[in-house]
């Protein structure tokens, strides 16, 4: 049996877990290609205009997989991956949105992952997904535990300075060269599924590296210190990714070696419109730039902004020894 996993959205966080789980149950895992022009075009065609770019891209990936003769399509409903926090309303309706828009879908595995209040139902749902392939409950549990083990292994790679997307590629058997020389140190924030998707982010991270920057992301920072920083705000942020981005931003502000922070947001992203604003108001002592992307492909505009930002940082670094330069106006 072939199970299709769209290479988009939470692929960038949970692929090792999903792949191991399905493979251990004897299924063949098929993924769509990396996001490309065709994916984007197909996605824009199928999704409503108002949806955010990553969601449109997801439609494109699903459509690509539809033509790959698979038996099942894995579209999880990710409500909440940790207690008392959510991802985003669009993720909660994703399987229904896809089913409403695309008609030639294979059977959809739409497991609901909601651990905001209790994770009692999670185990039950995992077993029910596993039952498609086998009746052996222990085998399903083992496959899930193996998946979690692989995911942890993958996350450990992040400590060596890889972001989670690169860690997944290494885990999947690719060889990547770590960048070693740099003269600027930049913190890059944003939702992983837009930041690490090279088409959505227009290759932001690699571009920065080519300009001689070392890129720090959420995964390369210490998790506990991020959470401690995120708790400094009066009201706990109830979006998982938003809270992490906010905590990281505050943490980066306190790190001396980080020269500047870039936040990549997608046009129309609900959480980002709030988190970006809070970060911008809180961070006063480090240069901060917010970049908003959507499906319009004007790379030149972004390159100019990145170059200008890096130039500014370099000058600031040189001048910092002589005199203080304000970060804002």
């Amino acid at each position: 049996m072939r199970v299709g996993i769209p290479r988009s959205l939470f692929y960038y966080y949970y692929y090792p877990l999903w792949k191991t789980f399905f493979q251990d149950l004897g299924a063949e895992v098929v993924t769509s290609d990396w996001t490309n022009r065709l994916t984007v075009e197909k996605g824009i065609e199928s999704a409503v205009d108002e949806a955010c770019f990553p969601i449109k891209v997801y439609y494109g990936h699903v459509r690509e997989l539809c033509s790959k003769s698979i038996d099942y399509m894995f579209i999880p409903r990710l409500v909440s991956v940790e207690s008392r926090s959510y991802i985003c309303p669009k993720f909660m309706g994703l399987p229904d949105m896809i089913k409403a828009a695309l008609h030639d879908l294979p059977s959809v595995i739409d497991i609901t992952i909601d651990v905001s209040k209790t994770n009692k139902f999670l185990n039950r749902d995992i077993i029910s997904v596993g039952n498609i392939f086998t009746n052996n409950k222990n085998r399903i549990k083992e496959a899930y535990h193996h998946g979690q083990y692989e995911l942890r292994k993958c996350k450990e790679l992040c400590r060596d300075g890889y972001n989670i997307s690169e860690a997944i590629r290494i885990w999947d058997g690719e060889q990547l060269v770590a960048h070693s020389t740099y003269n600027l140190n930049i913190g890059v924030l944003g939702h992983g599924y837009s930041l690490y998707d090279q088409t959505i982010s227009m290759n932001l991270i690699d571009r920065l590296r080519k300009m001689g920057c070392r890129v720090q992301v959420v995964e390369t920072l210490d998790r506990n210190s991020i959470e401690a920083k995120a708790a400094e705000i009066p009201k706990r942020i109830f979006w998982t990714l938003g809270r992490k981005a906010f905590g990281s931003a505050l943490f980066m502000e306190g790190q001396k070696e980080i020269d500047g922070i870039i936040y990549l947001a997608c046009f129309g992203c609900g959480p980002d419109s709030m988190i970006g604003e809070i970060i911008e108001r809180k961070i006063k002592s480090k240069p901060f730039m917010m970049i908003t992307v959507d499906e319009h492909t004007g790379e030149a505009g972004m390159v100019t902004r990145l170059e200008a930002f890096c130039d500014m940082l370099t000058r600031r670094k040189v001048a910092a020894n002589e005199d203080y330069i304000s970060t804002h106006g």
Binding site: G93, A100, G268
Partner: protein, 366 residues
């Protein structure tokens, strides 16, 4: 303590009554105007949804008028409304205003947060007086909705649309001024009797269901008064959300009056199987319900980039297909241009009307 709060339709009348009952001084924000929009847009995050911008404009204008305490609702997601109060406080503090913000929401961990907030609001009165104040506010809300429902019924049917609008607006003012429950009810009944005496057109108006996000539905300034625009085109509007129903479902957990929320979730089932925050699930449920109640069409409205409504919008085409009902989605943002909106509404109403005539003829032939 001079209290202010954001506008949402006629809500200010009820809140004013409630706060006065609690012996608190109220400074309601001035009615939403162009200036409110301008102030809000200037100071809000660019990609925030429109209710936040209007809220902020309301607050700034109220603070200018001397308010010093803001009462705001909160929530715990996933809709971004839950974070409104925090962002608004940061913005207003950065603008240099001095104020206290009371956020009414279920507490995250410490229950005394909420009790403290409530205590600070009700410190002048006894519990009995507080209950009386709530009842007083609630009765005004009910009276307002009584008039509003009749208004929605008569507007598409009468010849003299200006007259019926005037009766409705005057009733709202009278209810606002009413000193007790009986006066409010009398004002409502008086307006309704007056509406009944108007000359009616001899036709059955088109019936269109209006579904979507609650703020856009309830606040005429946020939807360019879409209900009246449609009413003036001889279209009867079924509003999916009334404030009393919403408060009953969400704050009072359905013990004040009968709730059809469970039914709503049930009919949404094949299309949307999970709560998506905000009013996404309600929008889908209402769409299905209106389709089955033989409405002629459905219009979904919401503020641009509203996440739950985007989920609903993605699903509505399949409802439209399977339940056989024309649907249209309209997004509202700070750009004001009623001409474009009017054209789209007219086109939709014409399309729906023709389809109705066609199916009727078809049925006659058969």
């Amino acid at each position: 303590m001079k209290i202010t709060f954001p506008h949402m339709g006629n809500m200010h009348i009820a809140i004013k009554a409630l706060m006065e009952g609690l012996k608190l001084e109220v400074v309601p924000p001035p009615p939403i105007s162009k200036r409110t929009f301008e102030l809000g847009i200037k100071n809000s995050p660019e990609f925030a949804c429109m209710p936040l911008k209007i809220n902020l404009g309301n607050f700034i204008e109220a603070l200018e008028n001397g308010a010093d305490t803001i009462v705001m609702a909160g929530g715990w997601g996933p809709c971004r409304f839950g974070y409104y109060a925090q962002v608004e406080r940061d913005i207003l503090e950065d603008l240099g205003y001095k104020f206290k913000m009371i956020v009414l929401e279920s507490p995250d961990s410490k229950i005394y947060d909420l009790t403290n907030q409530l205590k600070s609001l009700g410190k002048n009165v006894s519990l009995w007086e507080a209950i009386k104040a709530i009842k007083y506010g609630w009765s005004k809300l009910n009276a307002l909705e009584l008039v509003e429902r009749q208004f929605d019924y008569y507007l598409p049917r009468v010849w003299d649309k200006n007259r019926v609008e005037k009766i409705n607006d005057e009733a709202a003012v009278k209810i606002d001024e009413a000193a007790n429950k009986t006066e409010a009810q009398e004002a409502a009944l008086e307006a309704i009797t007056e509406m009944r005496l108007l000359d009616l057109k001899m036709h059955q108006p088109l019936k269109i269901g209006l579904v979507g996000e609650i703020y856009t539905l309830l606040e005429p300034a946020a939807n360019y008064d879409i209900c009246r625009l449609l009413g003036r085109m001889d279209v009867e509007v079924s509003r999916s959300t009334y404030l009393t129903e919403w408060l009953n479902d969400h704050l009072m957990k359905g013990w004040v009056k009968k709730s059809n929320r469970k039914q709503l979730i049930a009919v949404a089932k094949p299309y949307l199987n999970y709560e998506v925050g905000g009013h996404g699930l309600e929008t889908v449920g209402h769409t299905v319900q209106y389709a089955r109640m033989k409405h002629d069409g459905i219009i979904q409205i919401g503020p641009l980039t509203c996440m739950p409504e985007i989920v609903a919008q993605s699903i509505i085409p399949s409802i439209s297909e399977r339940e056989d009902i024309p649907c249209m989605t309209l997004w509202f943002d700070e750009l004001s241009g009623t001409a474009g909106l009017n054209t789209r509404l007219e086109a939709f109403a014409d399309m729906v009307k023709r389809q109705k005539i066609r199916t009727n003829n078809y049925m006659k032939e058969a």
